[in-house]
Amino acid sequence: MRRSWCASLFALGLLQGPGLRLDYRVRVVAGTGPDLQVLAAGAVSGPEETRLRFGLRTDTATVEALLSLLPDGDTVNVTAEFFSRRRLGRSRRGLPLWEEDTYHRAARLAWGDTARILPFGPRHSALRLELVLTRKPAGGVTRPAEAVDRADSAIELTLEAVLRPRRVAVTLTLTRGDEVGLPRSYDLVPDAPSRTIALPLGPTTRTVEISLARPEPPLGERDRVLALDADAVCLRVLPSDVGEPARQVCGRLNNVAQRLGLPGGDVLVATFAWPGVR
């Protein structure tokens, strides 16, 4: 409760302050000194509220984490929610047995400093992640970006920017049988009041009321810990026909189109995307 309150204040500050772009630079290294070997490297950047979801996979273990930042002057507080899976062995029927664990870690470091993350614990410090956090002014609200280079095929590193969209570009197309209407794009804000739109289809026009909402919190522990639903939104459509209930379709940004049936046989095809740079 307290963390969400602080996060809200932080988000409010971001809205009022100048735009900053955040960079997470990550390296997976093994060994020390002259034997230092970079197994994988990557970077994630985005607006200052961008969080980092990383995954490190070997043959016998997977460590995933969601890193969130709370700037405090020249330093930054890093909180990490970890989800790990370790292979214990095999069952009597020959199937792999895995042990799952979730836990929380926190650290404070200066901007530009290197934090070392030992993903498999202090006893296995040979393999580690090096994380450098920097921030710089940005011209405006910018999209997140991700890049990963891998040098060792035995290690799989994934880096993802996690960002709850403030606005979503929703493209709607009304279809009826083989007839397809002109696509219309709307800039919607999640949890904002609904608006009425008119969708053309041939000589006719259909009026519906649309609004955007966040999906229900995920039930799975991994989905919840790693915020896998961060870039998912739900489009709520209320047909103008009297007595018709509202309908809802959910999807991820920059993903496949979602189809929603409307009364009378019409189908509304919706795609969700990050809004353009402004």
């Binding site: 890093v78 650290a107 934090a115 070392r116 993350i117 030992l118 498999f120 202090p122 006893r123």
Partner: protein
């Protein structure tokens, strides 16, 4: 042989083991005088006991001693089994750890963030 004869056969075995009172031995003698089957069973049992005594190297023995599990011996063996089991469990736990595998505590396998 019916149920009554089975009871007399058990009495015969008890007599040969020296476990019957005088009154019980008298009752058994009266029954044997009137029951050829039970008398034959007693003869067979006696011959069997004699063969046991011969095979045990004591053909002139008066009774054949049967092995008995004493309470103290049983308690001693139970204690030995418990101690060996505890020792094996302790060694296995030290070698392979408890459920979850691996040595060390849960925290030892969890990720750590280090900041210089």
């Amino acid at each position: 042989m019916n149920g009554g004869h089975e009871e007399w056969v058990r009495q015969i075995e008890a007599e040969l083991a020296g476990e019957l009172s005088l009154a019980q031995r008298a009752a058994l003698a009266r029954h044997l005088a009137a029951c050829p089957a039970c008398a034959g069973a007693r003869v067979s049992r006696l011959e069997l006991e004699a063969s046991f005594a011969r095979s045990a190297g004591d053909p002139h023995a008066r009774v054949v001693r049967r092995p008995r599990v004493r309470g103290r011996t049983l308690a001693l063996w139970a204690a030995v089994v418990v101690v060996v089991g505890l020792l094996a469990g302790w060694l296995a736990h030290a070698r392979w750890g408890g459920p979850g595998g691996g040595r060390g505590t849960l925290e030892d396998g969890r990720a750590t963030i280090l900041v210089r």
